[in-house]
Subunit: 253 residues, 2 copies
DNA sequence: TCAAAAGTGTTTTTGATACACCCATGT
DNA sequence: ACATGGGTGTATCAAAAACACTTTTGA
């Protein structure tokens, strides 16, 4: 938690560096132990959690800003990041505004203005992320998709919209390269799809379809140590994967 | 074309009314005589055309702003309007900035600041639109999709992104209610799809598929006066249409 | 040795595509 | 009467969905 003085200093600096009225919020999806996760933050003296976010520097492209914000929260560079919606209700930051206007001097100041937030969602490799709190929080950690906390502001809407977009994306784009480790088994990849979609898929049909996309390399080795028959390992064929991203998986018409 | 004084007055007013740094651009699609059209504007003393656009009032939701901007250019209220992308490159309004900084006093002024533009696309009934120029232009008119003029700024990118989004949309959402008149024939609807997609479709398969969606009502009457067999008239079943919008037309997985 | 997970099929159903025939209408 | 566009139907093919059997492995 910031002291009043720290907040005032930060406010003054922010007003110099950043564009007014524009913020960025990121929904960072990760996958671990068969569970879909979102990266979230929390301050010790608030109950509700919020999404990683930030502002756009005066001469910075918004994509660069989103990457920078993500990098500072995760330690990651160059991840899959996609703009999905703009949240522009004038009341969306009301509670926040009221909170800060108690602490900060009245009148124009950076934090109490109206913000229009550009939503990005990211797909990242769980193991590479080093969750890093921002200046407003002490806690930055993964939350299970089926055990979500109370959200601040409209962050629940932002999260839900991101998830819906991701699900839709799944039907015409390959997904997984950014979420899975280098090598993985077919059941592991299936679990990812099932988690995103929130439903069970047929093992055999899933395998046929995924292989049909032609974006996987089957490796020689198997994943040993499991309690049952050892599954084969696969990796993504990056070239073909990226081609599929461009072309799309099915034409529609 | 505005005089220098008019521009200065408008600038001062805009700075009071509107949020800094945020603009809205609309790609308005219409359909007439088997041709897809976009609504565009042009000033007499500039060569390049631009898209209908505007700014967000200080306490106005962005959806409301987009609707207001559209309403002032078309006379329409409550049309299909969808946010599709944010354009946030710091150089995107460079040329504009330079242009205005010649005319307007140096230093901070509304028109020479950096703008991040929220792109909306609209699907409207051609016949209901009354194209209305804005304060910067004398011409506001429909342009054929296959006879497009030179664009200002990054408006070509905005237009192309809108078209791509619309095409993608077509594969998982019904379209047409907002573009077609109340009553229409199957060949007319097919022409719409063909124009959006930029390719020919099989007459019989198209009909089967569209009817399969269950969003059309077949009317008793036929469209007479044509030089051939009179085609049946159809209308959209609004209830089922909106349900299909929500559900999507195919699941994917 | 057996339960559970994984590999590898086949059958069935559905939807997309391609194609054929007849009907109505204005010239 | 005929060319043209429109209504309706069928054959074919490919992909999705449903389903079955065998293999491997640790407990």
């Amino acid at each position: 938690m910031l002291t009043k003085q720290q907040l005032e200093e930060f406010e003054a600096e922010a007003g110099m560096m950043y564009l007014d009225h524009i913020s960025i919020d990121c929904v960072v999806f990760g996958f671990h132990e068969g569970q879909m996760k979102v990266l979230m933050l929390k301050s010790n003296n608030e109950e509700a959690w919020y999404l990683p976010g930030g502002f756009v520097m005066k001469q910075e492209p918004i994509e660069v800003a989103a990457n920078r914000i993500l990098a500072t929260r995760t330690g990651l560079d160059k991840v899959f990041l996609k703009q999905f919606h703009v949240f522009g209700d004038p009341d969306r930051s009301k509670i926040h505004n009221e909170m800060y206007s108690e602490v900060l001097p009245a009148g124009n100041n950076f934090f109490t203005q109206r913000f229009i937030s550009i939503g990005y969602y990211a797909l990242v490799d769980f193991f590479n992320v080093i969750p890093t709190p921002d200046v407003f929080s002490e806690i930055c950690t993964w939350r299970d998709l089926d055990d979500l906390p109370k959200f601040q502001l409209d962050h629940e809407l932002i999260f839900r919209t991101a998830l819906d977009t991701l699900r839709l994306q799944l039907s015409y784009q390959p997904i997984g390269y950014n979420l899975m480790p280098k090598e993985f088994t077919m059941p592991e990849l299936q679990k990812l799809y099932e988690t995103i979609l929130g439903k069970k898929l047929d093992r055999r049909n899933f395998q046929r379809r995924i292989l049909g996309f032609g974006i996987l390399n089957k490796l020689e080795q198997t994943r040993k140590g499991g309690a049952h028959k050892a599954p084969y390992l696969y990796s993504f064929d990056l070239k073909k994967y990226q081609a599929a991203l461009k072309e799309g998986l099915k034409s529609g018409w």
